[in-house]
Amino acid sequence: MKVSSPSPVQNISHQRSYVLAILSLLILMSILLGMNYYAQKQAQLRTIERIQSDVDAEATRFAMLIDRLQSELHQLAASQEVNAYFRNKALGMSMEYGLRASLNNITYLFDRQLKQFPFGGTSIFEHISIFDCSGELLASMPEPQNQSVQRSKVSCQEILPNQSFSNNGILHLQAPVMSDNKRVATMHAEIPYTRIHNHLATRISSGSHSIILHNNLVADPPLDNTPPEFLNLTTRQLGNKEPLLLSVKDPLLIQIMELWRIDHPLLFKSSINGFSMTLLRIESAGDIYDKTAPITILVVMILFSSVIVIFSFRLIHSASRNAALNHYIHELSDSADALREKNQEMNLIIEGAKIGTWAWDVSTGKLQVNNTWSQMLGYKSDELPPHVTTWEERLHPDEVSHVFTAVNDHLAGKSSIYITDHRLRHASGDWIWVRAVGQVFSRDQYGNPVQVKGIHLEITELKNSLLQTEQAQREADSVIANFLDSLLVVDCNLIIRRINKATCALLNYQEKELLGRHVSFLFSDPQTYVSSCFNIPIGNDSPNESDLRNIEMTLQCANGNLLPVSVNLARLKDQHGKTIGIVAGAKDVSALKNALVKTERQHQFIERIFNIVPGGLLVMDADYSILHHNDTYGLLINDWCQTYQIDKESLHRLIQQKMSELLPNHKSGHFSIHSTTSEFFIEFHAAKERTKHHNNWVIYLHDVTSKLQAESVHRLHSTVLEQTTEAVVVSDKKGRFRYVNKAFTSLSGYSLSEIIGRPVSLLKTGTYQKSFYVDLTKTLKSGNVWSGSMAYRHKNHSLFETDTSISPIRNDSGEIICYVSLWRDVSHERILQRQLLQAQKLEAVGQLAAGIAHELNTPIQYIQNNMSFIQDSFTLIHPLINRLQQLRARPVSISDSTWQAQLAKEIVAADLDFIYKEIPKSIIESMQGIGHVVRIVSAMKELSHPGQIDKLPTDFNRLIDNATIVTRNEWKYVATLTTDLDPDLPPVVCDSGTWGQILLNLIVNSAQAIEATHRADGALGNIHIMTRTQGQTLILTIRDDGIGIADKHLDRIFEPFFTTKEVGKGTGQGLSIVYDLVVNKHQGQITCDSTAGQGCSFTLKVPLA
């Protein structure tokens, strides 16, 4: 195969592509050049920014370093050693006796400071010294070599800006030394700039050169003859961050350039914040600031790019021309080859097809034929004269006229080609059929034909075959048309090509109405079905003959009537065996069809009945072989096999075996089948079908495993419910008993018949507040479980206590339908608990008895004293009273001097003024004492009162007051008890007796914890009690600074009988009872926060209501 070269059109498109590529290249190079220029500029800017950033960072580090050094100097000035010296001096100590040592300590301090090397191998300080306010050098390190520095020019009165200055490349730092808020000395440190610079140099890029200006003087590096012009220049022009390109005429710059060998110095500046310093960085501008470099690179790149583009263009142009020339040469060569091949092909075709060729010169009548033409007529090649008459003479007379007409029409140009079939006389005298094809090949200038060429192809056999076929076709048409039954012929596309009269009559159509229609038009069956029935393979594959016979179809008459027919099909084949159509014969089977449909319907009806039975239905013969079964049985078998992991054959065998065992004696019942994993139960019902020919069993089977298991579980539940010791109550939404178990009847005293249907409120005690039941109902209606203690009234009106749990029961739609209650009788436990609680409380109160007695004793003592005084006073005034009574019995004149004298004497004897003055005091004191006693007794009564079940609103602060009073003797010798009680504390709903016990336990615990510290100085500890409210919660905190609780004991302090106290000091029940009362009885929380040796804090949180 030859590869075709690109055509000229392709070449043009290629050239366009080249041009586009060149343009793209130009654009791309332009972009690259632009980007290159931009990048060059940006790189320069970034370099400048980076250097400026470095300079700023260096300045910042410089400032931080100086700040740190200044800070260290201040620390030295404020050091203990320096301070001690001036304090000792102020105390009057002399150098001879002690003060010298203090001063030496300062020297050692300086020495230590100098020996610290935070900045590498050397101290950054060159010199540290301290001068007093007279300028006298007190201490210095290193010690001065000459005496000239013994005095400083700086005195305490001078105020130093920034306390730093520069001199001879040395940074001088100063810090005031203060003592008793007076400046007493000045610390002075000297740091060479070079040393700072060296320290920072590790962070400065190599090749950089820096200058430090201090107060506008060049501090570093040391330069000779610093010209003021330079300083003016830098301070005037370096006002912004832009680097400055210095003038080479600057004298200092010349010096710098010589020093650092820089040609074009570029100056960067940054102020050192906080100090009068400026950092200057000098870089070589030639390295970073060449403005011409980007432009030079740009021009060179453009020139280079242009040369490349021009060269590329010329190269592409030459290549294009060469390609076109090559293409033309290739085309010529290909055409010659093609022509040669074409001629060879034509000759081969002509010879192979036995085609006779002729060429007719119209003007001369000369006819040139090939050998095949002569041989076709039975002549040799040279036997026939080469003239057109040779052909004309041999034409069949019947065809001369139409042949000549066709030839003349073509010669006249009426047709583009001449084609005709005609007969020629063979040498044998027979006529042969030829097909003539000719064409004018050339004409003269007038349009007359000159050269005509053509071929003659013998078609005698073809013509004969066509005639025979036409005859057969006529015969077949006659047979089909006159066939008595329905007969029709369709082609391969199932289009009706023939249909006989009988069919047309049967369907009441005219033949022409049906011809050309799709065969499905005749049938009421779906077109797909019809097509599938007639869809006989077209190839040589032989269809199954059964598929072509008795096909049930339904014809549809013109009036719509349906005719069931039985159709037989046969293939029509051509002479090559190829199927060209189908012949279909149809026979009316409507009567037979009706009968079959009826039978089928009956069968389906029976089958449906058989399958809708909700269990397995099977028919067994006398040998118990399964003859027939319904679908449900099959499903059941599959289900059992999967559920119980048993194979199908074994299951069938087992069922047959069971049936053979059971059916002779039982017509119904159930049996079990054991699989490897479980057991399941099958119920059966059987009936015997007796006929003349057989005795079959009709058996109904279904799975009763779930039913039997449910019955078993139900029996177990019933047994459990009836035999459980807890009362089980089911009540409806209206609160009426629906079910109770035996435990309930024994607990409540009511029998089953007495209680069912009665309201639950029958057992109410009347001791609970309404809010209790409101909360309970609210909890249950919200779908939650209520649990808690509840008392009920027995049939005999006594009370019994239970731990009750009530749960709502919902139906499938989530609606609450009833409530289930479990009652556990805890009456006996409650009695024991209350007895234990009271016993513990009495025990606690009993332990306090001695202290309380002591508390009572004091007021009673002075009450007794006062009473004795009053008694004595009455004895003294008794004569006076008698005298007055005598006066009432025997009145005397008030002016009776004797009586007056006696009265005066008795008044003096009774010391009436004293008594009159003191008795009221005694009474007040006694009343106070009695009040104190009453308060203690009252507190005792309240705290030792037996616990109540009900919680009542209580003044909690008062409870705390009572507890502190009762326990006073326990803590007053070891601690100071303070309270911080919330004045706005609302009444707390609680059991006051229980809380009294809690408070007693905690306060006594705190007192004992403080006592255990055994404070050597006899100082009192502290107990602090605080109440607060947080929302609806009471927070009680009891804190002490006693011995505390070790971490390892913290987790166990609430355990019963756990104690860390000495033997006899505690039983270990106090905190466990407190925990039980707070957490379980009051639904509160208690936490303990303690550190061993530092005290303990208990925090109790309980709901206010």
Partner: protein
């Protein structure tokens, strides 16, 4: 005959051992035993109690010089001389009296012991190794004002005036016992301190007394340890000296130490030791060094 054969060798053996017993713990004995037992009491920077101190390092160097092992034996001020001489020593009218025998626990005393006359009666001292003086010290907040220095005699006289009506903290059997000095009968109340010398400054600051006696080494340590909390009022004694104490029966050991000490001073090593533990002392007693 047989009896003589037994007794005579036994007598000879006892005679040969007698000189050895008399020279027990003298130089040869120390070398023989291979250990130098250093008696000391933690005091100032002489014996810090932490394994170092001027005296500790000095004795370690001396032991190394002798080629024996060094062993520190801790004692206290009340019985350190007893531990050296092997007798209970008491003072009778300012004179030491040997009492009952006790165990000899050390070969020398080096703990900043001041050379005072009564001690010289019962033990020998080396060449003075450290200068000292007794100073009067008070808390910084004391109303007493330090003296204005002039001559030492006038300074002592001025300082004695400060003793009037004061409670003076002292320590028996040390150089801080007022009985050793002329001011013993001035008008002040002596409070004898039962703790160690190192605890006298803290005791003073806690109000155990109004003023206290301190020797110079301890005062210098106190000024460093309690800067600004105490003040030196003035001197109460002439300049004194400290030295290493030996048994009267250990002259060779004493001589060996004196030679060693002189060499040490010449070499500058002793000055380095002093600078390490008492850098300030050079300013006060430049002549001594």
């Amino acid at each position: 005959m047989i009896r003589y054969l037994i007794v005579i060798p036994l007598f000879l053996i006892i005679c040969s051992l007698a000189p050895t017993a008399a020279l027990s713990a003298d130089l040869e004995e120390v070398r023989k035993q291979g250990v130098l037992r250093h008696l000391g009491v933690p005091y100032a920077n002489f014996i810090t109690g932490q394994g170092d101190g001027l005296s500790v390092e000095l004795m370690q160097m001396f032991a190394f010089h002798l080629g024996v092992r060094y062993e520190y034996v801790q004692s206290d001020w009340d019985q350190i001389i007893d531990d050296l001489v092997g007798h209970r020593v008491t003072l009778n009218n300012g004179n030491p009296v040997k009492g009952e025998k006790v165990v000899v626990r050390g070969d020398l005393i080096a703990t900043g012991m001041t050379i005072i006359p009564w001690r010289q009666q019962i033990i020998d001292f080396s060449i003075p190794t450290f200068p000292t003086q007794v100073w009067l010290v008070s808390p910084a907040n004391s109303p007493l004002r330090p003296i204005s220095p002039s001559s030492l005699a006038e300074d002592i006289a001025a300082t004695r005036k400060l003793l009037q009506q004061q409670r003076l903290l002292s320590k028996r059997n040390t150089c801080l016992d007022p009985d050793l000095y002329p001011f013993a009968h001035d008008n002040f109340t002596t409070i004898y301190f039962s703790g160690s010398l190192n605890e006298m400054v803290p005791a003073l600051l806690q109000g155990a007394a109004d003023i206290t006696l301190l020797d110079v080494p301890d005062a210098l340590v106190g000024l460093t340890s309690w800067p600004g909390r105490i003040k030196i009022l003035g001197p109460l004694s002439e300049e004194q000296e400290m030295g290493v104490a030996f048994r009267k029966s250990s002259p060779q050991l004493k001589n060996a130490f004196n030679e060693f000490y002189l060499d040490l001073r010449k070499s500058g090593a002793y000055r380095a030791l002093i600078k390490k533990y008492y850098p300030d002392v050079f300013y006060y007693y430049a002549d001594f060094f």
